[in-house]
Amino acid sequence: MTKLEAKNLQVSFGNVAVITGLNLSIPEGSITALMGPSGSGKSTLLRVFNRLIELYPEAHVGGYVYLDGQDIFEIDVIELRRRVQMIFQIPNPIPNLSIFENVALGLKLNRLAKNRKELYQRVKTALEKAQLWDEVKDRLNAPAGKLSGGQQQRLCVARSLAFEPEVLLADEPTANLDPENTAKIEALLLDLKKEMTIVLVTHFPQQAARISDYVAFLYKGQIVERGPTKDIFTKPRHELTEKYVTGRLY
């Protein structure tokens, strides 16, 4: 089943075209690694999927994206963002809010918990899933900005998981983490694909090989090649893909 599908997608910033007629389908319940050189439009693509791109007034989007076959631009944007969550390369908790508030905020704004007890329970579950609970359970009211980078990233994961989203967009989530935190996030993503569809942007072929089911290779705003991870690494059909996975294209 296709969970997310982009058709002839185009994005430009001002008059600079960044995504130029991109087609991609993302299978449900899997991890699709999105790879490609810096500036090829990976982050931009993710921001289209949850329409955070609309926070950039200079960005113009054309073409179609479907979530479960429904045009995402017809879905209420707030509902879409609840269903399609995103974690970023640089962890972005809201630093002045407490650890608890960071996870609870979205639930509160969207009235997803009936009462305080349920809210607490959902926050706790999300923090447990993100493997952060044990480290923060005694200081849930401390500002999120006080956590270490790795903890902040897991907090952001918890914030996303609290929504029980259908899609998780992860934009180089381990780029700024040490090996230990990287391993934690990778294990977590593997575990999560049972419950959701994951799009993982990564610059590390090894990471894609370790945890992804599919790889999509993005170059200059278009998908050059997409296929099962093993195929992409062992028998890439496109010269650019081969160059990239063997480290000869940046």
Partner: protein, 263 residues
């Protein structure tokens, strides 16, 4: 300097002048409590009106206007802050005062406001005058909200309004900064207030719709007169001293709170 100049009145009657409500140098009455209350009332009402306006202006400039117009409108608002206050005073006297009198009396269905120059007129005029100061500080802070934090806020399904409130909370130190700057301005503003406050030296009133007086306008209006009376000058210096102490207290509170809520 202020204390030395004020000393004779303290020597004569201690701090009693701060508890008396009548200023009449001819009758040796130097009470300033009515002015103190007037200062408090007008600044509190002015701030209560100014803060929502300032936040509204700051948010509108940052959220609604396209970035090209942002700077232009921002500077325009800043510019009103640099206008001579006497111009505000004239406008307040000839336009705002009569307008408010009319509006209040119509709304109340009776002659509630018997003169165009009242504590209320001063409050509204002050609100208009200090709004640009608060707006400038809030606007500056609001523009500093990092894109990453904005994405976090919208990413969790915030509406536009919720996002605005969360962003204001993120820059709460700037909102507080704007608040205290405006409060300080409102308490100290002299000329414009003196022109529209009514100049009632003799009665304590907490009725906004009556003519009143504030400390700074008392000093401005009575200073020329004061040298004819032995104790009037010291009394005015004592009043000024009080205003200075207030100012310092507000600034100290401001610095403390702003540091505490730094993002």
């Amino acid at each position: 300097m202020f204390f030395i100049k004020a000393y004779p009145i303290f020597a004569r009657e201690g701090f009693a002048m701060f508890l008396q409500t009548e200023w009449d140098p001819g009758a040796q009455k130097y009470g300033v409590l009515q002015a103190l209350v007037g200062t408090m009332l007008t600044s509190v009402v002015a701030i209560a009106l100014a803060m929502p306006m300032a936040i509204g202006v700051a948010v509108t400039i940052n959220e609604v206007l396209p970035s090209r117009l942002r700077t232009i409108f921002g500077s325009l608002v800043d510019l009103t802050a640099t206008m001579p206050t006497v111009l505000f005073g004239l406008w307040g006297f000839y336009v705002l005062g009569p307008f408010l009198q009319n509006a209040v009396n119509t709304l109340a269905g009776g002659a509630v406001m018997t003169s165009p120059s009242t504590l209320f007129t001063a409050s509204v005029l002050l609100a208009i005058m200090v709004t640009p100061y608060a707006a400038a500080v809030i606007r500056e802070g609001y523009a500093l909200v990092p894109k990453a934090v904005e994405e976090a806020i919208y990413g969790v399904g915030a509406t536009r309004l919720e996002a605005v409130l969360l962003k204001l909370r993120y820059v709460i130190s700037y909102v507080l900064g704007g608040f205290f700057l405006a409060l300080g301005r409102a308490m100290g503003e002299t000329v414009a207030v003196a022109m529209v406050v009514g100049g009632n030296y003799a009665h304590l009133t907490t009725n906004l719709f009556q003519s009143g007086i504030t400390i700074s306008s008392l000093i401005a209006l009575q200073f020329g007169n004061a040298r004819f009376y032995t104790y009037a000058e010291p009394a005015l210096f004592a009043a000024a001293l009080l205003l200075a102490i207030f100012g310092i207290a507000i600034n100290t509170a401001a610095i403390y709170l702003i540091q505490k809520w730094q993002p």
